[in-house]
Symmetry: C2
Amino acid sequence: MKKNRVTITDIARELNISPSTVSRALKDHPALKRETKDAVKALAEKWDYQPNLLALSLLNRKSNTIGVIVPEITSHFFSAIITGIQDVVGKSDYNIMICLSNESYEEELILVKKLLNMQIDGVLVSPSSETDDFDHFRKLQKNGIPVVVFDRDCPGLEADKVLVDDYSGAFQAVEYLIDRGCKNIAHLGGPLNLSTTGHRLNGYLDALRKNNMPIRREHIVHVPGFSHKDGIKPAKKLFQLDNPPDAIFAMNDNIAISAMHVAKKMGLKIPEEISILGFDDEPHSSFFTPTLSTVWQPVYSIGMLSARILLSHLKNKDNQLKFRKEIFKPELVIRNSSK
Amino acid sequence: MKKNRVTITDIARELNISPSTVSRALKDHPALKRETKDAVKALAEKWDYQPNLLALSLLNRKSNTIGVIVPEITSHFFSAIITGIQDVVGKSDYNIMICLSNESYEEELILVKKLLNMQIDGVLVSPSSETDDFDHFRKLQKNGIPVVVFDRDCPGLEADKVLVDDYSGAFQAVEYLIDRGCKNIAHLGGPLNLSTTGHRLNGYLDALRKNNMPIRREHIVHVPGFSHKDGIKPAKKLFQLDNPPDAIFAMNDNIAISAMHVAKKMGLKIPEEISILGFDDEPHSSFFTPTLSTVWQPVYSIGMLSARILLSHLKNKDNQLKFRKEIFKPELVIRNSSK
DNA sequence: AAACTCTATGCAAAGGTTTGCATAGAGCAC
DNA sequence: GTGCTCTATGCAAACCTTTGCATAGAGTTT
C-alpha cells in the first residue's frame, strides 16, 4: 500500500481549499457553496478518489467488519452456512472476515486475538471440536463485541445462538429405523465434547430406550474425524462383530457413505440386509446407489438468521440483557438406503 | 467497538509517563530504564492491553490483510483451495478476507472497490464466470496492490498466475475414452468465456481431431451451471438423440454424476453402454456406483502456491517486471464409470 | 563553580478523515 | 461610516500509535 492513493488532503491542496471543506463537499454538506461542491466532486472523480476506511474506522471506532470463525469450510455444511451469512451481510455496510480454526482450540485463540486487534465489530462463531473453554468468546463480549454462536453450541456461554435440534433429528432417524423393523441399530458417532454430535448420540440412545431396544456398547463406535476415510475402519469394526447391526445411524453423510461403501464391499444388500442413514443431506447424497437416507438441516437459514441477529445487535447497540436462542428443526429425508 | 479498550494513552496516564515511553517500553526499546519497562509491561498485562491494528495500519500504510476473491465456496474445489491458502497465510503475519462474488461480475466490482477502500495489501482472485473485463484487477495493480490469479485465467491481464492445464486434462480424458473403444463421445460443457471450461472444450475437440473422430455439434451440450441439478436436462438431451453418445466427458464431477444418474434412470449400463468421465475428483466421487472416473487437480497446491507467490511479493516489494505463471498438471483417475 | 557528557524521557508530527466551533468578509440596516 | 447578521470556509482536535529529535537533569571533568 504505497502512497499513490489520492487523499482528501491531495484534493484540498489542488483546489486551494481545506481538507475539511473537501470532506464536507464529498458529503454534500448544505453549508457549502454549490461551486465548491462541484469542483471537489469533479476532481475526486477525475483522480478516482477512494476513501481510506482505516482512517474512518480509527476515527469512528468502528471497523465495519464482522468476523466469522468456523472449524473448516471444505464440507458443504459450513460452506453453505457461510453463503447464507454472505448473502445477508453482503447487503449491509459490513464486510466479512472468514477465519478457519481447522478444528483447533489453539488456533481459535489466535484468531480471536487477531479479530480483537483488528477492532472487529461483531463475531459469528461455530467452535472447533477441541473447544471446551469459551473464555476467549467471553473476552470478545467483554470488549463490547457481540457474539452469535451458530450450529455447535457453547454450553454455559451467554450469547445469542442459532442451533439445530440435533437430538430431535437423531431421535426421529432412529425411531424411523425402529419403526421399519430394524432390531440392531448401530451408531457411528463423533466427538463427545461437540454439542452437535453429543446431542445426536443422546437422541440415538433415547430413541432406543423409548422403544425398549437394548443399548449395545459395541454398537456405538467413535469415528475420529468427519471425512469419508475416517469412517471406513469404524464401519468395518461394526460389520465384523458377532452380532453385527442391521442398521447404522451415522453422525454425518460422509461417514454414512463410508459405511455404505464397506457394506457393499462385504456383499451386504442395502437396505435389505443393512439400513444406513446419515445426517446433513449433502447435495450429492441423492446420487449415491442406493440414494442416501439422511437428516436434512436448514444450513443456509442458519447462516442467514445468525447474520441477521448480529447485524441487528450492531445496528441497535442496545446491549440487551436477553439473548435469543433459535433452534431449527431438522427433517428426515428418506431415500433408498433405509428400509 | 466502544471505548472500553485499553490504549497506550490510558497506560501512560496511569503511570504518569508519556505514550511514546509506553510504546517504547512495550517494544523493549534499549534506551529505556528497566524499571520503566517492567512497570509498563506489568500494567499492560494486568489491563489486558491489545494494540489497535487500525492505528498501526493507518500509520504504516499497511493493513496486513490479503483479499481472496472466489466465485463460490460450496464446491469442494474452491473450499480446498482456500484451505491451502489459509494454511500458508496462517503462518504469516497476514489475515485473510474471503470475498464471494457468487459468479457475478457486478458483485466482483463491488468487492474490489471494498478491498481498495480497506487498504488491502494484496489480492488472490479467481474471477466469476461472467467476468470478461479485468480492468478492476488492473486498478488494484495500479494502486500498488499485487494480484495473483488462480485457477480461472484472466487472458490479457499481466499478473502472476497459478493455473491448471485444463486443456491437457481434457485431452487425456478424451483420448483415454477413444483408446478404450468409445466412438461417439459427447461433452457436457460449461461457460465458454471461462478459461477453465473453455480449455476443457478445446482439449475435447482436439483429442477428437487428432484421432480422426468426427465432431458432432449435437454431442456438445452447454450446461448452464455447475450443480448436479444443472446437468440433468442436458444429459437427457444427449441420451434422447437419434445417435446418442457411448461416452460423456463432463466439465466437472457434479455434472458427470448427473449424467450417471440420468443414464441409470434410462436403464443404460455404465460403463458397458455408456462411459462417463468428470473433472475435479471430488472427495465423494470414489463412493458413487460405479465409482467415477475423473480428472484430478492439485487444488490444495494451487492454494498454497498462490499464497506463497503473493506473500513473496508483499515481503520483497520489488515490483518485479516479470510475472510468474505456474501451470499444474492434472491427472487422469480411472475408476469404474469408464471402460 | 562552570562546562561538558550522557541517560532517560517527552514533544510533536505523522498517517487520513471528520466535525464543533471560529472567523473573515460580504451584504444590509441605521 | 459604523455596526450587525449571515455565509462560506478554515482551524484544530480527535481517533491510536510510532519515532526523530529535543531536552531536563544527573554525573563527571576541569
